[in-house]
């Protein structure tokens, strides 16, 4: 059980602030680091993995700073976005070298185990130069897993991986999270983060825009409109009564049945909807958020 902690961490390059006063704590389980391209995700991962000195603040792993602390790599595994340029090595040689560098007691066994985990045992005898993008991604993962780290940082791990391997990789990450490891991966694609991580950290323009379980984040944004589709036995009647509610911003009838409701205050609306329905004897058949997905959280966060 290891915890990575950032305290008021900033990093600037000349005049450009890449990471701006971020405080976050990454604990056991899977955390998705979400943000558009250029938001500072790679910079954050570099800070977390000890490959970048914070300009201000501190980055610690279990209380120890990670910058200039090679001992941290005993508990930390890193899968950088960079390609492996050791094309002249076979996959097995590369992972074995990583195992040896960690000073493992039985590097051969550790190598075999790591290759097995990423499903790369069969092509491990081939040179990395001949690998496909997905295989390179997996050999990178194997090299980071070889010492069985408590913390695993992955920079854009799903880039260039085909859908089948993506599912495999996601299952692997979920399993590692369930085992109590601290897994953090970055992505700019919402569906990916949504499928793997419940805990997300949203970074926009180097700033920490949101943190937490994404449904909760969604609900926290009460000052932003939330969209629902409500299907009732009397759509038009319900619509006319809902528009009288202060928490409702807009109502529209759908051509295929149901009412689109735009809500400004989620909490108040959740209390009022059943009462309104009961008072007027309307039966509600279905309440469905149309945008309670990370997509909308993200677009609001980025757009706002």
């Amino acid at each position: 059980m290891s915890v990575l902690r950032l305290e008021q961490t900033s990093r600037w390059f000349g005049n450009v602030v890449a990471v701006n006063g971020i405080t976050m704590s990454v604990g056991p389980g899977i955390t998705g680091l979400l943000g558009p391209n250029g938001a500072g995700k790679t910079t954050l991962i570099a800070l977390m993995s000890g490959f970048l000195a914070p300009s201000a603040g501190a980055v610690t792993l279990d209380g120890e700073p990670v910058w200039r602390n090679t001992g941290a790599y005993r508990t930390l595994g890193l899968v950088p976005e960079r390609e492996v340029s050791f094309g002249y090595l076979t996959g097995r040689q590369f992972v074995l070298a990583n195992a040896e560098l960690h000073g493992l007691r039985d590097p051969g066994a550790a190598t075999r185990r790591a290759l097995e985990v990423v499903d790369l045992l069969e092509p491990a005898g081939r040179r990395i130069g001949t690998y496909s993008k997905g295989m390179r991604q997996r050999v990178k993962l194997a090299s980071a897993l070889v010492h069985d780290p408590a913390v695993l940082l992955l920079d854009e791990p799903f880039n260039g991986v085909d859908p089948r391997q993506r599912l495999h990789l996601m299952a692997l990450l979920r399993r590692m999270g369930a085992e109590g490891r601290t897994v953090l991966f970055s992505s700019h694609i919402l569906e990916e983060v949504e499928q793997v991580a419940r805990q997300i950290e949203v970074v926009v323009s180097g700033r920490h825009a949101a943190s937490g379980e994404f449904g909760e984040i969604r609900r926290l944004m009460t000052d932003r409109p939330v969209q629902y589709v409500i299907v009732a036995d009397d759509d038009r009647g319900l619509a006319s009564r809902l528009i009288a509610e202060p928490s409702v911003l807009a109502v529209a009838l759908r051509t295929d049945g149901g009412v689109d409701v735009s809500v400004s205050d989620f909490g108040a609306f959740a209390l009022r909807l059943p009462r309104v329905a009961r008072e007027h004897g309307t039966r509600i058949l279905e309440v469905r958020p149309t945008d309670d997905s990370l997509e909308s959280v993200f677009s609001y966060l980025v757009g706002g």
């Binding site: 759509d235 038009r236 009838l253 051509t255 295929d256 049945g257």
Partner: protein, 298 residues
């Protein structure tokens, strides 16, 4: 509730014409593409159109290379010598290390990067043959090398003219030097380009080119020196054929009278020197075209 079929009558779906049109005008051919590629390549070789950091190296080398010429020009103007302390053609021979480093360091800019990062496919996806691409890159490198070699000659020429040295004589000497410099640039661009396209690692390409040029030159010079001392200049003459720098030195000595060990003594040998310089660059160019043809088909 409204009737959906009434709300969406037949033919409501439409793709609006926003005015996007395919380009139907005239298109420039291979020649124009190649010309613009040559121009861009020439600029890139000096770091123009690239980041500020990539300008440092070529311009630092150019400045180092020009420095002696500027000093000579200053001395000429201030002291008023009646002849240039260094010949036009001799200059490139004296600064051969800088010339070699420049060509070796900038060839990878033109030849390695597209191969290493796979962007070569973007060029070849255009109506541009792999041979034309190789040729255009080579011409860019040749042009950059010529700029590097010709500028100091022009500085010296300007100094000579300002000092009112004999114009006809100076112009003839400059013409000879320019001819020699073109021959040298042809062969250097060929060798450096070929090495850079063969090794896509920048640093390695630079050392390999320098090793090839300077070690060959060093060996040839050593053998020539010994052959001269032993009174067997014929061996030295033949050995001179094996390195671009010694070929240049031999021709320079034969055409301008500057001292060099065992220069080609006969017209036949001079022709052989010219033939080897041109042949070497043609062979390198041919190999480059083949190399890129293989890249294009694999």
């Amino acid at each position: 509730m409204t009737d959906p079929s009434a709300a969406t009558p037949e033919g409501r779906s439409v793709i609006h014409d926003l005015g996007y049109r395919p380009y139907t005008g005239p298109r420039l051919g291979q020649g124009a593409i190649a010309r613009s590629l040559v121009g861009t390549g020439l600029r890139n070789a000096f770091g123009l159109g690239r980041s500020g950091r990539s300008k440092v190296l070529p311009f630092a080398l150019l400045a180092l290379n020009l420095l002696p010429a500027v000093i000579v020009a200053g001395v000429m103007v201030l002291v008023g010598l009646d002849s240039l302390p260094i010949g036009y053609a001799e200059y490139a021979s004296t600064t051969q290390v800088l010339v070699g480093v420049f060509v070796a360091a900038q060839a990878p800019v033109l030849f390695s990067r597209d191969l290493r990062h796979g962007t070569i496919a973007l060029y070849l996806a255009r109506p541009l043959g792999s041979g034309t691409y190789a040729l255009a890159r080579w011409v860019s490198l040749l042009g950059a090398t010529l700029v590097f070699l010709v500028l100091p000659v022009l500085v010296l020429y300007g100094a000579a003219l300002l000092s009112e040295l004999d114009v006809a004589e100076q112009t003839r000497d400059v013409a000879v030097a320019l001819g020699l410099v073109v021959l040298l640039a042809l062969s250097l661009a060929g060798v450096a380009g070929l090495v850079a396209s063969w090794s896509t690692r920048r640093g390695f390409a630079v050392v390999a080119t320098i090793a090839l040029l300077l070690i060959a030159n060093g060996i040839v010079t050593a053998v020539q020196g010994i052959a001269g001392a032993e009174g067997r200049p014929r061996i030295g003459e033949v050995t001179g054929l094996f390195s671009p720098y010694s070929l240049y030195r031999g021709l320079m000595s034969a055409w301008t009278g500057v001292e060099a060990p065992t220069p080609p003594a006969s017209t036949g040998m001079e022709l052989a020197y010219v033939a080897v310089l041109v042949g070497l660059s043609a062979a390198c160019l041919g190999a480059l075209v083949l190399r890129y043809r293989r890249v294009a088909t694999s």
